[in-house]
């Protein structure tokens, strides 16, 4: 089966300044990484290890300086801005530490948002959003605004928003970073359940107990995969 994430020799160099004063930062120094369908992977490493950069490249928010990357079997090299947006919309479901729900939209409309950019008609969009919210146990909070929800509920809305895309990959960046321990447990239990349903999940975290829930831990150090690059 085609791996969801396949990376070979991915580097990322940030340049700042100009001329002789150019400063180069090597965030990634040749990353090989394969994540198969249905895997639950934790991406860990100290700050400055390059895990955020790697996450951005996996999520198509950034592109590698060198190396090959295929997402869901589709090579991303040479894709334009609009095409990257399309692939992102269809293959990647983001879950952020700070939830990033639009404050003036109800839970239902927040969840339906990614489908707007796919041209799904309103009725169909809301139907799918409702189903996604029900699947995370928020069927009774459809018309609530984010301000009327608890932290754990907000993150579940965000997860529903990722699920509604039916993505190849659920990409969560410190999903429990803003939550108390009880809510964290809830969210981690939800990820476990999604994993059992066969979803492919990558969680970026620095918390050992969050990482411990995953099937496999990929550790980054100094822009390289120190451990767990292959299943």
């Amino acid at each position: 089966m085609t791996p969801v994430v396949q990376m070979q020799g991915v580097t990322k160099v940030y340049r700042s300044g100009s001329g002789s004063r150019t400063v180069e930062v090597h965030a990634l120094r040749g990353v090989d990484l394969t994540i198969g369908a249905g895997e639950y992977v934790a991406l860990m490493g100290p700050s400055g290890s390059g895990k955020s950069t790697l996450m951005h490249i996996i999520g198509l928010l950034d592109s590698p300086t060198e190396g090959e990357y295929s997402l869901g079997g589709e090579p991303v090299r040479g894709l334009g801005e609009a095409q990257l947006a399309r692939v992102r919309n269809q293959r990647v479901g983001f879950v952020f530490q700070a939830f990033f729900l639009l404050p003036r939209l109800t839970a239902l409309h927040n969840v339906a948002l990614p489908l707007v950019y796919r041209g799904v008609p309103v009725a169909e969009r809301l139907k799918r959003a409702k189903k996604a919210l029900e699947s995370v146990g928020l069927g009774d909070r459809l018309d609530h605004l984010p301000s009327e929800l608890s932290g754990g509920q907000k993150q579940r809305v965000a997860i529903a928003r990722a699920l509604v895309q039916e993505p190849d990959l659920l990409l969560a960046d410190e999903p429990t970073g803003n939550l108390d321990s009880k809510s964290s447990d809830e969210i981690m239990a939800l990820f476990d359940a999604l994993h059992r349903q066969g979803k492919t999940i990558v969680v970026v975290t620095h918390e050992p107990d969050v990482g411990a829930r995953a099937q496999r831990i990929v550790r980054l150090r100094d822009g390289k995969v120190a451990e767990g690059s292959m299943a």
Binding site: L79, R88, R118
Partner: protein
């Protein structure tokens, strides 16, 4: 990488057209509605600008209509012929003669020859004042309906031909000659500048002319039979007239008949001896004056639209900065830069369109109020063209001043945008 080329290769599902256009308008309304006070303040400039432009254009049209109506009430659709005094000749050097009138009879006009002379009356014992004595044919109100009898009657054709000592007074003349008394039935005692006296029996008084030209027509004038003036005046010569009014018959083309009249006088006396004018040529002059005024005021009003547009740009820039994280999120969820640009452009256009709509409504209200209260503005004019133009201009202002903020929003890097605090 060529984003434009790549975008065109992507399947239609992901292209801009994949998004329902109404979607963008709905989103724009939602976002503007969420910030009601700010949105309202931002579009105030547009409201005022569109209001000013719309009101200016419509008031100009209403003024033109008002002036045209007033002019028609005073002068009808008429052609006027009088000797040209420009070359410093004496009043009687180029009179209009009986033969000229005969030639004019062939045209689709009523021929009303007139005669003017100065006359005096005794306001107090020993003190004389001047007014105008005007010789006309009998039954003038029938020939030229812009003259209306207020009291009494006009002298008849028979009385006029007989040169009887009868007179009709203008409203002013009646008040001057017989202050506080009914003029009809009185005898007006008048003196020619040389001293010769005539006593005329007043048979009627005319209505004062209406509208803004009322002042122009409300001179103190005594109307008497032409025959009588020829018989009594020391200066007037029999068979010669000073002025001809030619009210056009129904369906006659003013310009064409004016040229025909000009040709008749030119063929008889040569170029430049007589002045031939029509009420339509006055109207044309008035129209061009109003048009210039309208353009001037419109330009000033347009400036306020410019200021309003800059206000929109400012608020859109603020909005883009404030919503940096929203933009980052939308991009992460799969919005293309084009879709983000479109969202903010449409927001700016919706903002200015709503402002334009409010401005037009305000202008419509003001125009209604003015029509109801200012007598000069008789008709209410707010043409669909004006409304369409006002709305189109406000949409264009939104588009123009929305381009830069929208481009800034579209250019945001999603990673940076999501990190923005």
């Amino acid at each position: 990488m060529n984003p434009a080329k790549n975008a065109s290769q992507s399947p239609p599902q992901a292209s801009l057209s994949g998004m329902n256009p109404l979607e963008n308008f709905r989103m724009a309304f939602e976002s503007l509605w969420g910030n009601k006070l700010r949105s309202f303040l931002a579009l105030l400039g547009i409201v005022i600008g569109v209001f000013a432009v719309t009101a200016m254009i419509s008031l100009g049209q209403m003024a033109t209509a008002g002036i045209t109506q007033d002019l028609e009430a005073v002068a009808g659709r008429s052609i006027f012929v009088q000797p040209n005094f420009n070359e410093g000749q004496d009043f009687s050097s180029a009179p209009i003669r009986e033969e000229d009138l005969q030639a004019l009879q062939a045209l689709p006009v009523t021929v009303i020859p007139q005669l003017f002379t100065s006359i005096q009356y005794e306001s107090k014992p020993g003190e004389r004042r001047s007014m105008q004595l005007q010789g006309t044919p009998g039954d003038l109100p029938r020939l030229d309906p812009t003259n209306k009898i207020a009291r009494g009657r006009y002298f008849t054709d028979l009385e006029a031909r007989g040169g009887l000592a009868v007179a009709v007074l203008s409203d002013r003349a009646a008040k001057d000659l017989f202050p506080g008394r009914e003029a009809v039935g009185q005898v007006a005692r008048l003196y020619y500048p040389g001293g010769a006296r005539i006593d005329l029996t007043v048979v009627g008084v005319l209505e004062p002319p209406s509208g803004i030209f009322g002042g122009y027509g409300s001179s103190a004038t005594v109307y008497a039979p032409i025959q009588l003036i020829w018989n009594t005046s020391p200066t007037a010569r029999r068979g010669e007239y000073a002025f001809v009014i030619l009210p056009l018959k129904k369906g006659a083309d003013a310009q064409q008949v004016t040229r025909q009249v000009q040709r008749i006088f030119e063929s008889r006396y040569g170029k430049g001896k007589y002045q031939v004018q029509s009420t339509e040529s006055f109207q044309g002059t008035l129209r061009s004056v109003t048009l210039i005024l309208q353009a001037l005021l419109g330009a000033i009003a347009g400036l306020s639209l410019l200021v309003g547009g800059i206000g929109i740009m400012n608020i859109m820039l603020v909005s883009v900065t404030e919503r940096t994280r929203e933009i980052g999120l939308r991009k992460a969820l799969g919005a293309t830069s084009g879709q983000i640009r479109q969202q903010f452009l449409i927001e700016a256009v919706v903002l200015t369109l709503v402002g334009g709509l409010l401005g037009v409504l305000l202008a419509a209200g003001l125009l209604l109020l003015i029509t109801a209260t200012v007598p000069f503005f008789k008709v209410y004019i707010l043409s669909p063209t004006t409304v369409f133009l006002a709305l189109a201009v406000s949409a264009l202002v939104g588009l123009f001043f929305g381009v830069w903020p929208a481009a800034r929003a579209a250019a945001l890097d999603p990673i940076e945008a999501l990190r923005y605090e």
